[in-house]
């Protein structure tokens, strides 16, 4: 009976034990996440473009929003993220709804869906490019097209790659919600003469919205933040913010410029995600 334990604090570990076990992670995250994040923020408002230049100025942000090269990259990043999120959401919803209605082979399908997630991203993009080249050859041989599509180095190729990469997360997030759907409910509604669209909007969609929101946030963040997809699929023609961050550091040593890009990227992500979360939550509340 050394000390009284409050009912809320039913920890097995004492105060010292808790800190001893939880402390290292806190130190780790502060040292490798918190401090580096602060350094990026600090560097982005330095007066010079090098490291340790010190001072304070917003030049790098001003340059960002006035130079057409940077604005193009910003626009590309945003368009890529929005389009790939929209396409992934529609396909993910169809997929999740179909495997809810028709459960045949479901376990196998979900396993096969997860499998590519374990394969290296570079390998997956390379395979996709080889596939697109083969597709072009088949289309030319069959006389369906006179000129190759050239998807392997194109804007559309970037979208296709991102949709393929993020699809499993979207489909599984939506499926998690839809799996609570009682299929007989849908059939009953249809038997009673409810139009197909009405059933989808009133019964299916409300269950899918939380998954769609979660999947969209994930897809948007991945699409806006990816370096390797536009770097490989864009063929050097489609400039995005992550690519500008990398080239600013590796080729021209413009540390402050790169840091400002990174801060802008995070700001875009934070604003878009918070906005969509609020919209998503409101629409769920409305349909219930």
């Amino acid at each position: 009976m050394t000390r009284a334990r409050s009912p809320e604090d039913e920890a097995t570990l004492g105060r010292r034990g808790s800190w001893l076990l939880g402390g290292p992670m806190l130190v780790f995250v502060v040292a490798l996440f918190g401090y580096p994040a602060y350094l990026v923020l600090r560097t982005s408002v330095a007066s010079g473009d090098g490291l340790d230049s010190g001072g304070f100025s917003l030049t790098h942000y001003v340059t960002f929003f006035t130079d057409s090269l940077y604005l193009d990259a910003l626009l590309n990043t945003f368009v890529i993220a929005v389009v790939s999120t929209a396409v992934t959401a529609v396909l993910g919803l169809l997929y999740a709804y179909e495997i809810t209605r028709r459960p045949g082979l479901r376990t196998v399908l979900l396993l096969l869906l997860v499998l590519p997630l374990l394969v290296n991203g570079v390998v997956r993009i390379y395979g996709l490019q080889l596939g697109m080249i083969s597709l072009d050859r088949v289309l030319l041989d069959l006389g369906l097209r006179d000129t190759p599509l050239g998807l392997q180095y194109s804007f559309a190729g970037i979208i296709i790659a991102l949709v393929m990469f993020q699809f499993p997360f979207m489909a599984l997030a939506v499926y998690a919600g839809l799996s609570r759907l009682d299929v007989s409910l849908v059939e009953a509604a249809q038997t009673l003469g409810a139009p197909r669209r009405e059933v989808l909007v009133r019964v299916v969609l409300p269950l899918a919205v939380p998954g769609l929101v979660a999947g969209s946030v994930l897809t948007f963040a991945a699409a806006a933040g990816t370096f390797i997809v536009p770097a490989m699929m864009g063929g050097g023609r489609v400039n995005t913010i992550p690519q500008m961050i990398y080239t600013s550091v590796s080729q021209t040593s413009q540390w402050a410029t790169a840091s400002a890009f990174a801060v802008v990227l995070v700001a875009i992500l934070a604003v878009s995600i918070l906005y969509s979360l609020r919209r998503g939550l409101r629409s769920t509340a409305g349909t219930r």
């Binding site: 920890a11 097995t12 570990l13 034990g17 808790s18 076990l21 939880g22 290292p24 992670m25 780790f28 995250v29 490798l32 996440f33 401090y35 350094l39 990026v40 490291l51 179909e98 209605r101 028709r102 045949g104 082979l105 399908l109 979900l110 396993l111 096969l112 997860v114 499998l115 590519p116 997630l117 374990l118 394969v119 290296n120 991203g121 570079v122 390998v123 997956r124 390379y126 395979g127 596939g131 080249i133 393929m164 990469f165 699809f167 499993p168 997360f169 599984l172 991945a222 806006a224 933040g225 370096f227 390797i228 490989m232 990398y246 550091v249 790169a258 840091s259 990174a262 990227l265 995070v266």
Partner: protein
């Protein structure tokens, strides 16, 4: 009535879902097919069958040294990661209530931040302390990326272990540490295995962190392949890719045996970026 059930039964297969799932696997099949084509050019479907390109890939000095470096870093990252995440998971499930939200929030932060920002911040810090091209930075960066999922797997397993059993062991005279090591630890061994595999594969596959923190001439395999593919694509790189695909299959089998595969699917991971 009787005849109507047969076509209905048949339509229970999700045709679109099956086609789409297979479509997602096509790139991997194409890679494997181009790796076994005898000619020194990429051809799909292949003209014949050979395993020579695998020998060439392994013997290419660039690929060989990168593969060994990647494996070494991934193993170290798994060990360091486990040493960090097991105590963390114990603190989250058994620690004091007031500390728990802080620790669990800390483990999620790297997950919701773009890789590019993590990588840039780490590089600025490492340059400042003069460790820009050391392997330590690379290992710690990889641990940072893999840690959230590892913690999640371990926390899920630890929450499933009845604390009363641990307390019973203590009542019977075991110290708290002994009770943990001999009672709780064996119960979560599969989860520890899954966490180790996740830490390994997240390190092995990572592009963003490695891109910034790899020293020139000492790049990990994904970066070497990315740089190689900028100027050439040939059966050698297809063979190297096939080796990575086979490794992923092995990882998938191990994870499904350990019960960790569902965590990969249900959680926000960062495979592509």
């Amino acid at each position: 009535m009787r005849t109507s059930s047969t076509p209905r039964e048949r339509t229970r297969y999700p045709v679109f879902a099956i086609c789409f799932t297979l479509l997602l696997l096509v790139p991997l099949v194409v890679v494997v097919a181009t790796a076994v084509n005898p000619g020194a050019y990429l051809k799909f479907p292949p003209d014949g069958f050979t395993l020579d390109w695998f020998t060439t890939a392994i013997e290419t000095p660039r690929f060989q040294s990168s593969l060994l470096l990647s494996l070494r870093i991934a193993v170290i990252a798994s060990v360091v990661g486990l040493a960090l995440t097991i105590p963390t998971a114990v603190a989250i499930t058994r620690g004091r209530r007031r500390l728990r939200p802080w620790v669990s929030t800390a483990t999620v932060l790297p997950l919701i931040t773009p890789d590019m920002l993590l990588a840039l911040g780490l590089l600025i810090m490492l340059v400042q302390i003069g460790m820009a091209s050391s392997l330590i930075g690379l290992v710690l960066g990889h641990v940072l990326i893999g840690m959230p999922l590892a913690v999640q797997v371990l926390v899920a397993a630890l929450s499933g272990v009845d604390e009363n059993i641990e307390q019973a062991a203590q009542t019977l005279g075991a110290s708290r540490a002994t009770a943990f090591v001999r009672v709780t630890l064996p119960a979560i061994l599969p989860a520890i295995g899954s966490a180790a595999v996740f830490l390994f594969i997240f390190s092995f596959d990572n592009v963003s962190i490695s891109l910034f923190l790899s020293a020139p001439g000492q790049t990990t395999l994904p970066i070497t392949m990315f740089q190689y593919l900028e100027y050439n694509s040939d059966p050698t790189v297809s063979a190297m890719s096939t080796i990575l695909i086979v490794l992923s299959l092995v990882v998938a089998v191990v994870l499904s045996r350990l019960g960790g595969l569902s965590h990969l699917a249900g959680s926000p991971t960062r495979r592509s970026s």
